[in-house]
Symmetry: C3
Amino acid sequence: MLKGKNVIDPMDLSLEELDEILNLADEIIAEPNKFTHACDGNVLAALFYEPSTRTRLSFEAAMCRLGGKVIGFSEPNASSVAKGESIADTIRTIACYADVAVMRHPKEGAPRVAAQYSDIPVINAGDGGHQHPTQTLTDLLTIRATMGRLDNLTIGCCGDLKFGRTVHSLIKTLSRYENNKFILISPEELEIPEYIRREVLEKRNIEFKQVRTMEEAMDELDILYMTRVQRERFFNEEDYIKLKDTYILDNEKMKLAKKDMIVLHPLPRVNEISYEVDNDQRAVYFKQAKYGMFVRMALILKLLGIY
Amino acid sequence: MLKGKNVIDPMDLSLEELDEILNLADEIIAEPNKFTHACDGNVLAALFYEPSTRTRLSFEAAMCRLGGKVIGFSEPNASSVAKGESIADTIRTIACYADVAVMRHPKEGAPRVAAQYSDIPVINAGDGGHQHPTQTLTDLLTIRATMGRLDNLTIGCCGDLKFGRTVHSLIKTLSRYENNKFILISPEELEIPEYIRREVLEKRNIEFKQVRTMEEAMDELDILYMTRVQRERFFNEEDYIKLKDTYILDNEKMKLAKKDMIVLHPLPRVNEISYEVDNDQRAVYFKQAKYGMFVRMALILKLLGIY
Amino acid sequence: MLKGKNVIDPMDLSLEELDEILNLADEIIAEPNKFTHACDGNVLAALFYEPSTRTRLSFEAAMCRLGGKVIGFSEPNASSVAKGESIADTIRTIACYADVAVMRHPKEGAPRVAAQYSDIPVINAGDGGHQHPTQTLTDLLTIRATMGRLDNLTIGCCGDLKFGRTVHSLIKTLSRYENNKFILISPEELEIPEYIRREVLEKRNIEFKQVRTMEEAMDELDILYMTRVQRERFFNEEDYIKLKDTYILDNEKMKLAKKDMIVLHPLPRVNEISYEVDNDQRAVYFKQAKYGMFVRMALILKLLGIY
């Protein structure tokens, strides 16, 4: 069903397709050795027009653990782009060499354009402040594996809700499952964009509230999704410094939370979660990185039509 | 016969050796799965002292599809060169790690020097404006696979014939086959160098003519070989801008051509071929990229003595 | 015994452990094909926060020749460090993707910190002017394989003994074997640091002498360990130019040496060994590079608990 498909936006995937991927990821987690040679003879192209070690290594490890090979580049200046080549031409050439392509690009929409010209499936690994569907898949797998469900959850999203694309994708996706509620914790300057509030939450009658402090929300949450306040999203240094330390999770705040709440973070973190929290059982953000590799393994297998 | 050989200049290969490589490439195209583990346990070193994504990825994909592994670097500053090491020392070290080496270098002659000191076969993947033998192999395989022969052809070469090394190599190589004719289409400023005209074409009594417009030549051609007008070859911006748009292939011009003519291009293209031409059956430049991978697979197998 | 261990400092390894690694390396040298699939399904992360082609390619080739896969980066700016992530967080993420990590870092102590937070074995591939344990393993294997023993040797160390970490490690390690003597050949400005003289040599009553010219020492040596005078270690260009050519090995000096003396060099060399010496049977520095790959293969297998 997923064979040959492009994955550009998390919303490209139906709930059935999401399920299919997550179920296969579960199988991989249960018996990883069964998949050691599943992608034998297959090649993944990792096209990183913008450095992103974490995402790139996650994809590369995923393909390696399936027995496949990886080619690609991790910086724009190492690519033919410097010679003025279009994305369309690049992907058509890459499609001669590889069986599946992963693209990270600073320009919104670039992976969508690539997919239009490609003979092989294209996976968007982040396009500007736009989409990053495999991060969403990672979040879903982590939640399902640790909470046992994707519905009937109260999700707190904390930090930079304005520019944080992972949060936008997560809200859109979890809104598709029944009876989820959102508590949006941010300073006024970094509130979620109007279009998400109107077009996603209000339109679908999803329960949500916006608060200014973590303390107001902690005891209600099943999931706390922390995000990094990225320096590069700010227009001036002063605003960044004023706001970056506002929403820091520490053991004191963790005391207010439920015993089975989980803390997620797309990583890398800077200082929005104190190191002391790492030892808390409820901190699953490093596990999350592992789930990220497993879900990418599942996605690759599905798009190649191997499973 | 080719085992252990270095491939620095296309002219290093006899017609018999060319045949041997092209025949093996045909076998690979027919049954790629047969070769999935042919290079098991072998390592290719990709030494790119100058970025060239296309060529590098083609070699890497070739080795991966044979079951071999790839090590290397894609930029000069990532190499020991920064510490003042000679090419001779670098290759002697690399020869301890790998079974075959591919070298791209901005300095003409560098791969030849490396080959002198190497215990493993060295393949030149482009040295300055000089040689690029696997591009020539790619062109030969594409022509043979689509036209069915390498002789009795009328070949049009269009664009930058002065600095375009792929055209020089192609002319030299196709001059070795019987009864080929050349039509050289370029502005006066970018005509083929005197030494090719004298030493290759005139000396061997090869039929050729030089024209200024594509229109004069189109209806005679079996092959149209388009080249990019590279900004970096020009001494001043003004000359570049004046000439770069002069020789653009479009559907209008394609109407003048034979029905079974083929259009080749070493890629990347900038705008010397209009996108509308891509849908023309006679445009085989993306297929050419695929043939490039197959011919590199054949070359690696031959140099390693596996086939 | 070595399974799961970190290798940060050569002194972390007991003589028994060193023996274990060197013995396995001997087995690999004798029958390399036996190990072609030993690391099937395993992933090595190469984390190079500072470029070092030689060491990186040696590790990558080692893992490839064991059938394992490699992920990683070769430059700091391609890493998440740019986003302000700590070493602790990076290694915890990497440990989700890989089975063993190799780290090169400009800051002394960084690999030690990484090891503290890592669930997988961490190998130090050089931290500033500090430790580089696999270079020491390489030296040991080369000496043992060519001289047949690691004790009862007279070792000459020549060149930059002040900043050359490979020499420091070698002296410390060979001091652990019986009856080795050292002759330290350097200008006054580049003598070995006081702490090595006092804490290692004098404390353990190791026989050594310090001389100013190679001629004084040559006829006594079983091993001559040459080092590069690194430009980057000098505070001013003048000192570098004055000293860099002082200790150059040539055929004239080789005439003074024993017939079975061996010449080692960690490479890359600049001009401290004349090219004419390369053809001398006693010059084993390129063989040494090959031993470096074999000993890394052995180390990886041991840390993963496969052998």
